[in-house]
Symmetry: C3
Subunit: 431 residues, 3 copies
């Protein structure tokens, strides 16, 4: 079961201190490369300009904790990397509880959860703590150690281009900047790693696949600043994979227009995967599709998800774990969804009947020779597919008309091709 | 009442042994020709190629029956032509009940019905029998006589082209290959015969009418193989008439796209004829529209029906009769539906107002000269029609906007034409 | 409160005997000119041809009344100008009650109401009377005095063109031919007078405003006959203002197609002004939009209303007054509706993001620097507006997508312009 394999991989990279830069990102990328050795790990220096942005300094954490008046060590970064506010600047000193409170973050409504807080673009230090622990703090002097460094280093990301028969590209993106949380966001990189492995170990695809593992926002902006003109020429379908590992629902967030080829394929697959999938709209966005569909960028990128960021209670807290939230079943469902979408893209094409009027199916053994009232569902499906093979309907359109998933038509198409009743009319939906 | 006349004609041709070829077809066509002498009866030799098909041998039945062990003659073709499986090959011999059972067809759920079975393209013989009769058969030897012939002869069909002012054509098709059954299918040829008589005896139409009486499937394929390029140039509307003689419902099966001119006219007329008419879709098809709308053929042909084949319990059995199922009322309704559709096609056109702003209707006696709160429905309708006579809306569109059947606008248009308030802008919807 | 000011103005012109011609029209136009001195008062001679129509003779009333057998003066035009049928020809004489009845108009269902009746294009005289008064008439001789004149004079209307930065025009029309009735129709001219005053006293608009005060039907036809070719070039939005002074509902009657720019703006504004606004269709029309949208005229003109003519019980009777029916609140709502529509037209434009990908909003102080789960509604709105500023969506489309009225976006757009994050892409929706 592939879901178990993905889950085990997620566990193996759980503890790395991922952020938008730093060692945790490199450790994560190296682990992914151990599964898909073709991955290129790219480095972009701090200070690099990318459109309206600057690649920030690299962040390094040596240690971070607080000693209470009772001498207890709390908020220890070694125990949970969520305890330290992301991109905290160095600090060391003894301060009162009152002063400390200004640097603490907790969630009163979720008293056992450590929240996830970052401050990438303004210098700050801070600690995240469960609200119950915070309430138990007593007056007195607290010794605070934030032993971090912000220095000119690199921002890293992973890139993999798998050539297909056509140079036209399917683009897949996920992000590797979140520390120890499971659905948002170990699920995306883990599922995408195994999707990439599948593509690398299968026969050559019809299309080229461009796959990236990046830090969110700054990573996608930097990647676009380097690749946009090429991508605008080649990318005809693309997906952001995020929150794709829990087993509670399937969710979809469309491209800005909602009318791209990506949207058409994904909505078709989702409808037949889970008729109750949750359909968001563009104003609900919150991940890298913000960049991919920005004005002037306008790539056909939508988001495939299980339960969306912000839509589940454990989101952005220590409760988003690999035990209760992200499961082998959840990851398997996410993986299969992505696979079915890619297979639909690979298979979708327009065919054209080679014969005027209905062919004589009986003489080919494809039709009952005695006419009674009912013919079987297979024969009906074949005659319906034939009827729409006029060169103008693609397989997804035919499947939608027949209220059946496209994957139920793969055999029918093969039979019709074998009997030379249809021929490929066009298979490149990117034009 | 025209329904009675059509019903009497149906009774007069009830007993002929119609099939895709043979004497029964010729007898039927000759009877039709007695009503519309302009009909041409065409002959196509067995073995003729038509696209993917070959015109089969002609089938002739001399006699067919079974003698039971008790010496009783059963399944006698003379008594009901449904008893013999269509296109049965010759056979004569004495066989056991067990052997005989392999050649018997009955319907356990309809124990009094003789089913309708054919085997045109694989050599077989067989008998159709009511299930009750079948259950009463005893063990013993059965003497079977199937005195038939399959020989190089002809496939026949009837064709009638009625020239109109325009060479653009309305195409009407029905089929004459079903033996003694009433709704499916004596109703189609009988209604179409009287529609043709009406057209032949009326003033010259705006459009040319191409009317054919053919055996289903092979007949339409052969006809298309001879006439397709001409028809693709000229036919702008067309209908398959089938199952149009019972009085239970009105039904509609669209062209493949559902968006042709035929669909637009027919749906408008049906909606105002019976708001509860049954609307099928293309995947429910099962008659000659399969050929007329096949890829590459793509004629604008839809099916006008009362209760559709497969949708009534007596379908394809001896219960589909001229007593309980097909009635004068049912045939009359079908006839009037077709007539209203043709009249709508004849009348539909775009008109253009000849005057800028509203005309002064009062000075023409077309408007009340004293302004009180309410004007009549006629005046309202006239002002509305005038408002849409801008050269872009055709009468069907105007009728749809006004939620009224097109036939309620015929008088209004005539009044506006007489007062020279509007002029014809275009009347050829085939372009 | 502007509603009170408009209401006071309506009271000041209440008693004038408005009709399609005559002194009452001139007195009304002069009163309007006292508020907007830039108004031009135009005169068109009787007998002037305009398309299918002729400007009628001017109508003058000196006095009109009836003396009952008891010597009581009734139906006195001096007391209420509705008593005299509009355009009554002169008559003086003594007639029986039976003869008189042919010249009396009343409404049995509204026994206290004097109805509003006219006979512009056929010579008649008549009196309107409450049904209760009519029932109390006794047998005997009635002395009738209709001291009127129909003579070659003028038809008058008011015209005001307020130049904007663009020569493209917004057209506003209302009618001044109804005697003493309030919603239909003192409300339209009174609201439009104050809209014109607002435009004249504000900074120069983006667009030019063409504003007319005309007699209904003959006035709009005459106006079009003089201005049509110019208007067809320039007018990209227009509204007929009628029945816009009661406080019971908001109503909308679209242009003929319902798809013009006027329709798009007005429906947007109405939806956010009153989600329960009453939406009529073109077949419900009854005012000058009949001419403005006539075939060949085809101007983008729709009607903005409070409670539509014909849709309230006091319509076209003496009950349509300035006390119960038309109120300061009602007029204020109508005025603000028109103003919001005009402001939306002025503000609507397409903007284009000046930066590829999302801008770094944090460094501009437009985004929280610490990333917690929720950002505010203002930030969300700004990011959404930015996302749709791709040069193709106009502000109304963006507002519709964001389910917010356009006026909530004005500040957002200003902020984005100030920070040079967007630039105007096009603002002329008339092309």
């Amino acid at each position: 079961m592939i879901g178990r394999e993905i889950h085990a991989f997620a566990e193996s990279i759980w503890g790395f201190n991922r952020s938008i830069t730093g060692n945790g990102v490199r450790e994560t990328l190296n682990s992914i490369k151990s599964i898909i050795p073709e991955l290129k790990i790219r480095s972009v220096p701090s200070g690099t300009l990318a459109f309206d942005w600057i690649v920030p300094k690299e962040w390094k954490v040596s240690k971070a904790y607080i000693i209470t008046p009772e001498g207890k060590k709390i908020c220890d970064f070694q125990k949970h990397n969520l305890h330290l506010v992301g991109y905290s600047v160095p600090f060391s000193g003894t301060i009162s509880l009152t002063e400390l409170q200004d640097h603490l973050y907790s969630i009163p409504e979720q008293p056992d959860a450590i929240p996830y807080i970052t401050s990438y673009y303004k210098e700050r230090w801070g600690f995240c703590i469960s609200h119950n622990d915070r309430l138990s703090l007593i007056d007195g002097n607290y010794h605070v150690v934030v032993d971090t460094e912000l220095f000119d280093g690199f921002m890293n990301y992973g890139e993999l281009v798998i050539p297909g028969k056509s140079p036209n590209e399917v683009f897949l993106s996920t992000y590797i900047c979140h520390p120890s949380m499971a659905n948002n966001e170990l699920s995306g990189p883990c599922v995408l790693t195994f999707i990439a492995r599948h593509l690398l170990t299968s026969a050559k695809s019809n299309y080229t696949y461009r796959i990236i593992f990046i830090p969110e926002t700054i990573g996608s902006i930097v990647y676009l600043s380097k690749n946009l003109s090429k991508m605008k020429k080649r990318v005809f379908a693309g997906f952001n994979l995020t929150c794709i590992g829990d087993n509670r629902s399937y969710s979809y967030l469309p491209s800005k227009s909602g009318l791209t080829y990506s949207d058409r394929v994904a909505v078709h697959v989702l409808r037949f995967t889970d008729p109750n999938f949750v359909s968001y709209d563009w104003t609900d966005r919150g991940s890298d599709e913000r960049q991919y569909c920005a004005p002037g960028v306008d790539l056909p990128v939508a988001s495939l998800m299980r339960t969306k960021y912000g839509a589940y209670p454990e989101y952005h807290t220590s409760l988003d774990d690999l035990k209760k939230v992200v499961t082998p079943e959840g990851l398997q469902g996410g993986y299969l969804l992505v696979l079915k979408v890619l297979q639909a893209i690979e298979a979708n094409a327009c065919y054209k009947s080679k014969i005027l009027c209905e062919p004589n199916m009986g003489k080919r053994g494809l039709y009952p020779t005695i006419l009674q009232n009912k013919k079987g569902a297979d024969v009906s499906r074949m005659m319906n597919v034939l009827s729409y093979c006029d060169g103008s309907f693609d397989l997804i359109e035919i499947a939608e008309i027949l209220k059946t998933p496209i994957w139920k038509l793969y055999d029918t198409i093969n039979t019709l091709l074998e009997h030379e009743l249809i021929a490929l009319n066009c298979n490149d939906k990117s034009k």
